[in-house]
Symmetry: C2
Subunit: 197 residues, 2 copies
Amino acid sequence: MIGPDIDRLIQLLAKLPGLGPRSARRVALHLIKRRDSLMAPLGEALAAAASSIRTCSICGNLDSNDPCTICADHHRDSGLLCVVEDVGDLWALERTGAFRGRYHVLGGTLSALDGIGPDDLSIPSLLERASRPEVQEVILALNATVGGQTTAHYLSDRLTPCGVRLSRLAHGVPVGGELDYLDDGTLTAALRSRRSL
Amino acid sequence: MIGPDIDRLIQLLAKLPGLGPRSARRVALHLIKRRDSLMAPLGEALAAAASSIRTCSICGNLDSNDPCTICADHHRDSGLLCVVEDVGDLWALERTGAFRGRYHVLGGTLSALDGIGPDDLSIPSLLERASRPEVQEVILALNATVGGQTTAHYLSDRLTPCGVRLSRLAHGVPVGGELDYLDDGTLTAALRSRRSL
Protein backbone atom coordinates (compact mmCIF):
# COMPACT_ATOMS: atom_id res chain seq x y z
CA MET A 1 0.00 0.00 0.00
CA ILE A 2 1.75 3.09 -1.29
CA GLY A 3 0.37 6.41 -0.03
CA PRO A 4 -1.67 8.60 -2.43
CA ASP A 5 0.95 11.40 -2.60
CA ILE A 6 3.72 8.99 -3.59
CA ASP A 7 1.40 7.10 -5.91
CA ARG A 8 0.41 10.25 -7.78
CA LEU A 9 4.07 11.27 -8.07
CA ILE A 10 4.99 7.88 -9.57
CA GLN A 11 2.06 8.07 -12.01
CA LEU A 12 3.19 11.47 -13.26
CA LEU A 13 6.87 10.51 -13.45
CA ALA A 14 5.96 7.44 -15.52
CA LYS A 15 4.59 9.79 -18.21
CA LEU A 16 8.04 11.27 -18.86
CA PRO A 17 9.81 10.06 -21.99
CA GLY A 18 12.25 7.23 -21.32
CA LEU A 19 10.71 6.37 -17.95
CA GLY A 20 8.42 3.39 -17.36
CA PRO A 21 6.60 2.35 -14.17
CA ARG A 22 9.72 0.71 -12.74
CA SER A 23 12.12 3.58 -13.37
CA ALA A 24 9.45 6.04 -12.22
CA ARG A 25 9.34 4.26 -8.85
CA ARG A 26 13.13 4.38 -8.70
CA VAL A 27 13.15 8.12 -9.46
CA ALA A 28 10.36 8.73 -6.91
CA LEU A 29 12.28 6.92 -4.17
CA HIS A 30 15.47 8.79 -5.09
CA LEU A 31 13.58 12.09 -4.87
CA ILE A 32 11.84 11.26 -1.59
CA LYS A 33 15.18 10.43 0.00
CA ARG A 34 16.51 13.81 -1.14
CA ARG A 35 13.50 15.89 -0.18
CA ASP A 36 15.34 19.10 0.62
CA SER A 37 18.29 18.90 -1.75
CA LEU A 38 16.49 17.78 -4.91
CA MET A 39 12.74 17.22 -4.60
CA ALA A 40 11.72 20.67 -3.36
CA PRO A 41 14.07 22.56 -5.78
CA LEU A 42 12.82 20.46 -8.70
CA GLY A 43 9.21 21.17 -7.74
CA GLU A 44 9.99 24.90 -7.63
CA ALA A 45 11.89 24.81 -10.92
CA LEU A 46 8.95 23.05 -12.60
CA ALA A 47 6.43 25.52 -11.19
CA ALA A 48 8.62 28.48 -12.20
CA ALA A 49 9.17 27.12 -15.70
CA ALA A 50 5.49 26.22 -16.14
CA SER A 51 4.43 29.76 -15.34
CA SER A 52 7.23 31.71 -17.04
CA ILE A 53 8.07 29.88 -20.26
CA ARG A 54 6.31 31.00 -23.41
CA THR A 55 6.73 30.55 -27.15
CA CYS A 56 8.63 33.38 -28.86
CA SER A 57 6.21 35.16 -31.20
CA ILE A 58 9.00 35.83 -33.70
CA CYS A 59 10.94 32.57 -34.03
CA GLY A 60 8.96 29.95 -32.07
CA ASN A 61 11.74 29.34 -29.50
CA LEU A 62 10.77 28.56 -25.89
CA ASP A 63 12.02 31.11 -23.34
CA SER A 64 10.99 33.07 -20.26
CA ASN A 65 10.86 36.20 -22.43
CA ASP A 66 8.95 37.04 -25.60
CA PRO A 67 10.73 37.90 -27.90
CA CYS A 68 13.22 35.25 -26.78
CA THR A 69 16.79 35.96 -25.71
CA ILE A 70 18.09 35.09 -29.18
CA CYS A 71 15.62 37.32 -31.05
CA ALA A 72 16.27 40.16 -28.59
CA ASP A 73 20.07 39.89 -28.89
CA HIS A 74 21.30 42.73 -31.11
CA HIS A 75 24.71 41.12 -31.47
CA ARG A 76 23.33 38.24 -33.49
CA ASP A 77 23.40 38.39 -37.27
CA SER A 78 19.94 39.22 -38.63
CA GLY A 79 21.10 38.31 -42.13
CA LEU A 80 21.29 34.59 -41.31
CA LEU A 81 18.13 32.63 -40.65
CA CYS A 82 18.41 29.00 -39.57
CA VAL A 83 15.22 26.93 -39.99
CA VAL A 84 14.84 24.01 -37.55
CA GLU A 85 12.03 21.54 -36.96
CA ASP A 86 11.92 21.72 -33.21
CA VAL A 87 13.24 23.63 -30.18
CA GLY A 88 15.42 20.60 -29.33
CA ASP A 89 17.26 21.11 -32.62
CA LEU A 90 17.75 24.80 -31.81
CA TRP A 91 19.25 23.79 -28.44
CA ALA A 92 21.58 21.35 -30.21
CA LEU A 93 22.83 24.06 -32.60
CA GLU A 94 23.19 26.58 -29.75
CA ARG A 95 25.35 24.11 -27.79
CA THR A 96 27.87 24.06 -30.64
CA GLY A 97 28.29 27.84 -30.37
CA ALA A 98 29.03 27.76 -34.12
CA PHE A 99 25.98 29.74 -35.24
CA ARG A 100 25.55 33.43 -34.54
CA GLY A 101 22.47 34.13 -36.64
CA ARG A 102 18.80 33.80 -35.81
CA TYR A 103 16.41 30.86 -35.84
CA HIS A 104 13.00 29.93 -37.09
CA VAL A 105 11.31 26.96 -35.42
CA LEU A 106 8.84 25.23 -37.77
CA GLY A 107 7.17 23.13 -35.09
CA GLY A 108 7.30 19.88 -37.08
CA THR A 109 7.47 18.65 -40.64
CA LEU A 110 4.96 18.43 -43.45
CA SER A 111 3.11 15.13 -43.40
CA ALA A 112 0.30 14.16 -45.75
CA LEU A 113 -0.37 11.06 -43.63
CA ASP A 114 -0.84 13.06 -40.42
CA GLY A 115 -2.64 15.86 -42.24
CA ILE A 116 0.04 18.45 -41.45
CA GLY A 117 0.14 21.10 -44.17
CA PRO A 118 2.11 24.36 -44.54
CA ASP A 119 -0.39 26.34 -42.47
CA ASP A 120 -0.02 23.96 -39.49
CA LEU A 121 3.67 24.84 -39.30
CA SER A 122 5.09 28.35 -38.99
CA ILE A 123 5.80 28.47 -42.74
CA PRO A 124 3.79 31.64 -43.50
CA SER A 125 5.78 33.61 -40.90
CA LEU A 126 9.02 32.10 -42.26
CA LEU A 127 8.21 33.34 -45.77
CA GLU A 128 7.43 36.76 -44.34
CA ARG A 129 10.71 36.88 -42.38
CA ALA A 130 12.74 35.58 -45.33
CA SER A 131 11.34 38.38 -47.56
CA ARG A 132 12.75 41.11 -45.31
CA PRO A 133 15.61 43.04 -46.92
CA GLU A 134 18.14 42.30 -44.12
CA VAL A 135 17.90 38.49 -44.55
CA GLN A 136 20.61 37.24 -46.89
CA GLU A 137 20.73 33.51 -46.28
CA VAL A 138 18.29 30.87 -45.05
CA ILE A 139 19.87 27.65 -43.74
CA LEU A 140 17.49 24.69 -43.81
CA ALA A 141 18.78 22.73 -40.80
CA LEU A 142 16.11 20.04 -40.97
CA ASN A 143 16.59 16.42 -39.95
CA ALA A 144 17.96 14.09 -42.61
CA THR A 145 14.75 12.02 -42.40
CA VAL A 146 12.03 11.60 -45.02
CA GLY A 147 9.81 14.15 -43.28
CA GLY A 148 12.63 16.65 -42.84
CA GLN A 149 13.83 16.37 -46.42
CA THR A 150 10.31 16.60 -47.88
CA THR A 151 9.79 19.78 -45.89
CA ALA A 152 13.19 21.14 -46.96
CA HIS A 153 12.27 20.50 -50.60
CA TYR A 154 8.93 22.29 -50.21
CA LEU A 155 10.57 25.20 -48.39
CA SER A 156 13.25 25.61 -51.02
CA ASP A 157 10.50 25.89 -53.68
CA ARG A 158 8.64 28.49 -51.65
CA LEU A 159 11.73 30.45 -50.58
CA THR A 160 13.36 30.76 -54.00
CA PRO A 161 11.03 33.69 -55.02
CA CYS A 162 12.10 35.55 -51.85
CA GLY A 163 15.51 36.07 -53.44
CA VAL A 164 17.56 34.78 -50.49
CA ARG A 165 20.52 32.42 -50.62
CA LEU A 166 19.41 28.93 -49.56
CA SER A 167 21.62 26.30 -47.96
CA ARG A 168 21.36 23.05 -46.06
CA LEU A 169 23.65 21.29 -43.58
CA ALA A 170 26.44 19.16 -45.08
CA HIS A 171 26.12 15.38 -45.12
CA GLY A 172 29.25 13.38 -44.30
CA VAL A 173 31.24 11.30 -41.87
CA PRO A 174 30.41 12.25 -38.22
CA VAL A 175 33.47 13.59 -36.37
CA GLY A 176 34.94 10.63 -34.50
CA GLY A 177 32.99 8.19 -36.68
CA GLU A 178 34.41 5.02 -38.21
CA LEU A 179 33.83 4.38 -41.92
CA ASP A 180 33.17 0.69 -41.30
CA TYR A 181 30.09 1.48 -39.21
CA LEU A 182 28.64 4.14 -41.51
CA ASP A 183 25.60 3.48 -43.68
CA ASP A 184 26.05 3.49 -47.47
CA GLY A 185 24.06 6.67 -48.03
CA THR A 186 26.21 8.74 -45.67
CA LEU A 187 29.42 7.32 -47.09
CA THR A 188 28.28 8.03 -50.67
CA ALA A 189 27.36 11.59 -49.68
CA ALA A 190 30.72 12.07 -47.94
CA LEU A 191 32.57 10.81 -51.01
CA ARG A 192 30.63 13.02 -53.41
CA SER A 193 31.11 16.12 -51.24
CA ARG A 194 34.83 15.42 -50.68
CA ARG A 195 36.98 18.47 -49.96
CA SER A 196 40.44 19.14 -51.40
CA LEU A 197 43.18 19.28 -48.79
CA MET B 1 21.50 30.19 -25.56
CA ILE B 2 18.98 28.38 -23.32
CA GLY B 3 17.11 30.58 -20.85
CA PRO B 4 17.98 30.34 -17.11
CA ASP B 5 14.64 28.76 -16.09
CA ILE B 6 14.98 25.97 -18.64
CA ASP B 7 18.67 25.55 -17.89
CA ARG B 8 18.05 25.11 -14.17
CA LEU B 9 15.29 22.60 -14.89
CA ILE B 10 17.61 20.55 -17.11
CA GLN B 11 20.37 20.65 -14.47
CA LEU B 12 18.01 19.30 -11.80
CA LEU B 13 16.47 16.65 -14.07
CA ALA B 14 19.96 15.39 -14.96
CA LYS B 15 20.46 14.51 -11.27
CA LEU B 16 17.69 11.90 -11.38
CA PRO B 17 18.80 8.27 -11.56
CA GLY B 18 18.87 6.91 -15.09
CA LEU B 19 18.86 10.36 -16.69
CA GLY B 20 21.92 12.02 -18.19
CA PRO B 21 22.30 15.49 -19.72
CA ARG B 22 20.83 14.38 -23.04
CA SER B 23 17.77 12.59 -21.66
CA ALA B 24 17.27 15.45 -19.18
CA ARG B 25 17.00 17.87 -22.12
CA ARG B 26 14.54 15.52 -23.79
CA VAL B 27 12.44 15.30 -20.62
CA ALA B 28 12.58 19.10 -20.17
CA LEU B 29 11.36 19.72 -23.73
CA HIS B 30 8.61 17.12 -23.28
CA LEU B 31 7.51 18.86 -20.07
CA ILE B 32 7.64 22.37 -21.54
CA LYS B 33 5.42 21.30 -24.42
CA ARG B 34 2.91 19.89 -21.91
CA ARG B 35 2.98 22.79 -19.47
CA ASP B 36 -0.61 22.53 -18.28
CA SER B 37 -1.22 18.81 -18.59
CA LEU B 38 2.03 17.49 -17.08
CA MET B 39 4.55 20.12 -15.98
CA ALA B 40 2.37 22.05 -13.55
CA PRO B 41 0.78 18.90 -11.99
CA LEU B 42 4.22 17.31 -11.60
CA GLY B 43 5.53 20.47 -9.92
CA GLU B 44 2.57 20.42 -7.52
CA ALA B 45 2.93 16.68 -6.83
CA LEU B 46 6.63 17.18 -6.02
CA ALA B 47 5.92 20.13 -3.74
CA ALA B 48 3.09 18.23 -2.01
CA ALA B 49 5.21 15.11 -1.54
CA ALA B 50 8.24 17.10 -0.36
CA SER B 51 6.20 18.76 2.38
CA SER B 52 3.98 15.85 3.41
CA ILE B 53 6.09 12.69 3.24
CA ARG B 54 7.81 11.60 6.40
CA THR B 55 9.48 8.46 7.72
CA CYS B 56 7.21 6.23 9.81
CA SER B 57 8.54 6.20 13.37
CA ILE B 58 7.50 2.57 13.81
CA CYS B 59 8.60 0.74 10.65
CA GLY B 60 10.68 3.23 8.65
CA ASN B 61 8.27 3.30 5.68
CA LEU B 62 7.77 6.57 3.79
CA ASP B 63 4.23 7.93 3.85
CA SER B 64 2.20 11.11 4.29
CA ASN B 65 1.18 9.89 7.73
CA ASP B 66 3.16 8.85 10.77
CA PRO B 67 2.51 6.02 11.74
CA CYS B 68 2.26 4.98 8.10
CA THR B 69 -0.87 3.53 6.47
CA ILE B 70 0.43 0.00 6.95
CA CYS B 71 1.30 0.42 10.64
CA ALA B 72 -2.05 2.13 11.26
CA ASP B 73 -4.06 -0.59 9.48
CA HIS B 74 -5.68 -2.78 12.13
CA HIS B 75 -6.56 -5.43 9.56
CA ARG B 76 -2.93 -6.35 9.04
CA ASP B 77 -1.42 -9.21 10.97
CA SER B 78 0.73 -7.92 13.83
CA GLY B 79 2.18 -11.40 14.33
CA LEU B 80 4.15 -11.26 11.07
CA LEU B 81 7.09 -8.91 10.71
CA CYS B 82 8.83 -8.65 7.35
CA VAL B 83 12.31 -7.10 7.45
CA VAL B 84 13.39 -5.32 4.25
CA GLU B 85 16.48 -3.30 3.39
CA ASP B 86 14.78 -0.38 1.75
CA VAL B 87 11.39 1.23 1.09
CA GLY B 88 11.69 0.14 -2.56
CA ASP B 89 11.68 -3.49 -1.39
CA LEU B 90 8.60 -2.81 0.74
CA TRP B 91 6.86 -1.35 -2.35
CA ALA B 92 7.82 -4.46 -4.35
CA LEU B 93 6.32 -6.77 -1.72
CA GLU B 94 3.19 -4.62 -1.41
CA ARG B 95 2.65 -4.82 -5.17
CA THR B 96 2.39 -8.60 -4.95
CA GLY B 97 -0.47 -8.30 -2.47
CA ALA B 98 0.75 -11.60 -1.02
CA PHE B 99 1.82 -10.25 2.36
CA ARG B 100 -0.67 -9.07 4.96
CA GLY B 101 1.68 -8.56 7.90
CA ARG B 102 3.78 -5.58 8.91
CA TYR B 103 7.17 -4.34 7.81
CA HIS B 104 10.42 -3.16 9.27
CA VAL B 105 12.68 -1.11 7.00
CA LEU B 106 16.35 -1.45 7.99
CA GLY B 107 17.57 1.43 5.86
CA GLY B 108 20.50 -0.48 4.36
CA THR B 109 22.79 -3.38 5.09
CA LEU B 110 25.68 -3.88 7.46
CA SER B 111 28.96 -2.99 5.81
CA ALA B 112 32.34 -3.02 7.52
CA LEU B 113 33.87 -1.31 4.47
CA ASP B 114 31.47 1.63 4.59
CA GLY B 115 31.51 1.68 8.40
CA ILE B 116 27.82 0.82 8.72
CA GLY B 117 27.19 -1.03 11.98
CA PRO B 118 23.98 -2.25 13.68
CA ASP B 119 23.32 1.15 15.28
CA ASP B 120 23.37 2.89 11.89
CA LEU B 121 20.45 0.72 10.78
CA SER B 122 17.13 0.38 12.60
CA ILE B 123 18.27 -2.89 14.22
CA PRO B 124 17.73 -1.83 17.88
CA SER B 125 14.09 -0.96 17.16
CA LEU B 126 13.69 -4.24 15.23
CA LEU B 127 14.91 -6.24 18.26
CA GLU B 128 12.51 -4.30 20.45
CA ARG B 129 9.57 -4.96 18.08
CA ALA B 130 10.46 -8.65 17.67
CA SER B 131 10.47 -9.12 21.47
CA ARG B 132 6.81 -8.05 21.77
CA PRO B 133 4.50 -10.93 22.67
CA GLU B 134 2.22 -10.54 19.61
CA VAL B 135 5.06 -11.09 17.11
CA GLN B 136 5.28 -14.74 16.10
CA GLU B 137 7.39 -14.76 12.97
CA VAL B 138 10.08 -12.52 11.49
CA ILE B 139 10.65 -12.89 7.75
CA LEU B 140 14.08 -11.70 6.65
CA ALA B 141 13.25 -10.47 3.12
CA LEU B 142 16.73 -9.11 2.42
CA ASN B 143 18.36 -9.02 -0.99
CA ALA B 144 20.25 -12.14 -2.05
CA THR B 145 23.48 -10.11 -2.24
CA VAL B 146 26.58 -10.36 -0.05
CA GLY B 147 25.49 -7.34 2.01
CA GLY B 148 21.93 -8.59 2.39
CA GLN B 149 22.96 -12.09 3.38
CA THR B 150 25.59 -10.88 5.87
CA THR B 151 22.92 -8.73 7.50
CA ALA B 152 20.43 -11.63 7.50
CA HIS B 153 23.01 -13.82 9.21
CA TYR B 154 23.71 -11.17 11.87
CA LEU B 155 19.99 -10.58 12.41
CA SER B 156 19.22 -14.28 12.79
CA ASP B 157 21.90 -14.44 15.55
CA ARG B 158 20.42 -11.45 17.34
CA LEU B 159 16.77 -12.44 16.86
CA THR B 160 17.10 -16.05 18.06
CA PRO B 161 17.00 -15.03 21.78
CA CYS B 162 13.74 -13.12 21.12
CA GLY B 163 12.02 -16.48 20.75
CA VAL B 164 10.32 -15.73 17.41
CA ARG B 165 10.14 -18.00 14.40
CA LEU B 166 12.65 -16.84 11.77
CA SER B 167 12.33 -17.33 8.02
CA ARG B 168 13.78 -16.07 4.79
CA LEU B 169 12.46 -15.86 1.22
CA ALA B 170 12.81 -19.01 -0.88
CA HIS B 171 15.52 -19.24 -3.52
CA GLY B 172 14.57 -20.85 -6.81
CA VAL B 173 13.67 -20.52 -10.46
CA PRO B 174 11.95 -17.16 -11.15
CA VAL B 175 8.40 -17.62 -12.45
CA GLY B 176 8.61 -17.49 -16.25
CA GLY B 177 12.37 -18.07 -16.13
CA GLU B 178 14.24 -20.49 -18.37
CA LEU B 179 16.65 -22.97 -16.76
CA ASP B 180 19.21 -22.46 -19.52
CA TYR B 181 19.66 -18.80 -18.58
CA LEU B 182 19.80 -19.30 -14.81
CA ASP B 183 23.03 -19.04 -12.87
CA ASP B 184 24.46 -22.16 -11.20
CA GLY B 185 23.79 -20.95 -7.65
CA THR B 186 20.07 -20.38 -8.24
CA LEU B 187 19.69 -23.68 -10.05
CA THR B 188 21.50 -25.56 -7.25
CA ALA B 189 19.27 -23.88 -4.66
CA ALA B 190 16.14 -24.70 -6.66
CA LEU B 191 17.20 -28.33 -6.92
CA ARG B 192 17.99 -28.64 -3.22
CA SER B 193 14.70 -27.04 -2.19
CA ARG B 194 12.63 -29.10 -4.63
CA ARG B 195 9.00 -29.62 -3.71
CA SER B 196 7.08 -32.86 -4.04
CA LEU B 197 4.17 -32.71 -6.42
